[in-house]
Symmetry: C2
Subunit: 136 residues, 2 copies
């Protein structure tokens, strides 16, 4: 199968600057951060609402794409496990998946809570969290 080309639609601004600063998961202590979108995608932002939760997809550009198995959470007492059974950022397609709460939307800048991704990380997509069938 051929490769597919992802187009970054924006990037993250955060006080988290390197991997040693970053929590492993957002509920383990993640700061507020900003999503800065490219101007071309302005119409796609229409409808994002402060207070709502969204799924943010990012490209983990510092990940190692050749890693296929890891010790979960770098704990050598845990057995080597396939990356598809872990949340390791090192994986063939290092797409980050983050549930964040929107705090504000101003033009191309969206401020969010609970984002453990590093400063400069490319943004790929934003999706609403689905409610019950009746709310769609």
């Amino acid at each position: 199968m051929a490769d597919f080309a992802l187009r970054p639609i924006g990037h993250i601004q955060s006080t988290l600057r390197d991997l040693s600063d970053a929590p492993r998961q957002p509920d383990e202590g993640a700061p507020e951060a900003w999503l800065i979108f490219e101007d071309a995608y302005r119409p796609a932002l229409d409808g994002l609402t402060p207070g709502s939760d969204v799924l943010l997809l990012t490209w983990l550009d510092r990940a190692d794409r050749e890693t296929l198995a890891v010790h979960p959470r770098d704990d050598l007492t845990r057995p080597l496990t396939g990356v598809f059974a872990t949340r390791s950022p090192d994986r063939p397609n290092p797409i980050g998946l983050h549930r964040v709460t929107i705090l504000s939307v101003e033009g191309l800048t969206v401020r969010v809570r609970n984002l453990e991704a590093l400063d400069g990380t490319p943004v790929l997509d934003v999706k609403p969290v689905l409610g019950d069938v009746g709310e769609r």
Copy 2:
């Protein structure tokens, strides 16, 4: 920013063959399906367990990447909304996100329940659903 190259790691086998067959969401009537992985990724599957729920990321290869706003669920009485506030498959980076239950794992074939993606859809990634902090 430069583009990033996604590498398909496998594909979906399903009885859903075109868009008119597909439910909009898996809890609106989705069949069982099979994930067929490429041989190179065999070590990455180690640890996937029948009965567990995983997040499956796919490349929605029949989507229109130029669409930035839609009427949700094609309902013209609903206002035009930015795609990042909807689950429309048409979006700049058409990455599908599916929560599925693993039914069996046999070699490179993983059978799952509740998958609304079409036959032949490329698979990008599999991630476990995270439990509480204490279970990680």
